[in-house]
């Protein structure tokens, strides 16, 4: 028995489902995705599972392993020694089949975030950037869009406030634009209102589950909250700006961007 592992895998669709138990032979350095593939090959060809690179870079095989959102290709079976491994689909998103969920909401929200709008003086010219200017935003570019952070965020997961909060992944995306030295769009109004950065109560679960180890809360969400505080919750700074003691670069408002520019066209 020591050479096998017990896997309980969720099988079902939008109508409902159940956990099925499988016994799978164990191999050295085996990951949970290997075990799922073994089940597909040898027992249940109809078991649905989304995957691509098996190298923790495509962000496709997101699931929940023993209740914790993880990439199946990065979850070593040895980490769960001595017990069964329960594999379920991401809880936050609607289930399509078995371990596959519909994450299209994330792309719809993403399309609401305008892309980089260059400052007029840099438009149509190559950007000459210093490393110190892109240190911060480079971290955000590591995101593989696995949506584990969106899955674990309790605002979306427990409170289902998809109507008010873009989620941690989109906060990272906004941070990468808001902190970009060449971006000329004022994104703070969107952050405060439509983006709902105020819904985040800093529980840091997004950071805990990020397979790319992006410090989502400390380096993206909290700095964004502070920027929103600059504009909306700091009367002293507001006064100093008004009388000209603090000078801040004026960026163009969000609604100045034509709709076509903010729309991401995808094949139907």
């Amino acid at each position: 028995m020591a050479d096998t592992i017990i896997l309980k895998v969720y099988r079902g669709d939008a109508e409902g489902g159940e956990l099925h138990t499988y016994e799978v032979p164990k191999s050295p350095h085996m990951v949970v995705l290997d075990a799922i593939h073994h089940i597909q090959r040898n027992q249940e060809p109809s078991l649905a599972c989304r995957w691509n690179c098996k190298a923790a870079k495509c962000g496709s095989c997101s699931a929940e392993i023993n209740g914790m959102p993880r990439l199946m290709c990065k979850a070593q079976v040895d980490d769960y020694a001595g017990g069964e491994i329960i594999v379920t689909p991401m809880h936050t998103f609607p289930i399509i089949k078995d371990l596959v969920t519909d994450v299209s909401w994330n792309y719809r929200v993403s399309s609401k975030i305008p892309p980089l709008v260059p400052k007029p003086e840099y438009a149509d010219k190559p950007f000459n950037l210093q490393q110190i200017d892109v240190d911060r935003v480079q971290e955000f570019r590591k995101c593989i869009e696995c949506f584990l952070c969106q899955d674990v965020c309790h605002v979306l997961r427990e409170h289902q406030r998809t109507d008010g909060f873009f989620g941690p992944r989109q906060m990272v995306k906004i941070a990468s634009l808001e902190m970009h030295p060449m971006d000329n769009l004022n994104r703070r109004e969107q952050l405060k209102n439509e983006g709902g950065v105020g819904f985040c109560n800093i529980t840091k679960c997004c950071t805990e589950v990020c397979p790319e180890h992006i410090h989502i809360t400390d380096n993206a969400i909290i700095p964004l909250k502070e920027r929103v505080a600059d504009d909306y919750f700091d009367p002293v700074q507001g006064l100093l700006r008004k009388i000209g003691i603090i000078k801040r670069e004026r960026k163009q408002p969000l609604d100045s961007v034509p709709n076509e520019q903010t729309k991401i066209h995808r094949p139907v």
Partner: protein, 262 residues
Amino acid sequence: MAIQAQKTTPDKPQPQRATRKDNWWLSPLVFALVFGFFAVWATFRAFQNNYYEVGNYLSPFYAPTIQLSWKIMGFNISPALLILPFPLSFRMTCYYYRKALYRSFAADPVACAVKEPEPLYKLRWKKYTGERVFPFVAMNFHRYAFYAAALFMIMLWIDAIKAFFFEGRLGMGIGSLIFLVNVLLLTLYTFSCHSWRHLIGGGQDCYSCSAMNKTRYGLWAKVSFLNERHGNWAMASLISVLVTDIYVYLLATKVITDIRFF
């Protein structure tokens, strides 16, 4: 020969989530116990209005010294009641404590991917507003609490230096070292603050655009280094404040005596 996967009979229908099997409850429990004890002790000491100063040692709950003669219904008002709201507001609005307090005392969420307790869940569902409305919208004023905390640090450093002077002469006792460690941890906690990190340079987009911005980048990078351990400093300084106050209390009540090195 490879063992084939074996499917057994389906288990009974399960909801689409599994329960975490690790000790997810340990961290919020430990924080609740430590912070809970601190809150009870601090409240007791704040209202006690006694045993807070011994020679050159002044309890951090009563620093800076305020001579008060206010009375309400015959009771003397403790100066700690005027002092503590400032450091307390810094901790209560701190980004680290927000995480810990929401987890331990509001179970919102109690741990990552753990379902919230059913009664709270029923009460809150569709009513969750995060930090957008009163009272939690006040968390956005954390920077003002930081300004107050930074001013308090000056006074706490003066008290820590005083702890090395006995009747006008340089000296050192166990208490001096406790005061020094306490003020060092408080300094690390205060100046690793996320708001400070933003104000010192995090709010800038272009660091290479001016000499001033380059300097601010350097400062931001240093604060960021401290900020990575902000939670550690937060807890270490909470405990050091507690230890310092208890030490002064035990000295003042003559339960122990201070050991002097010179």
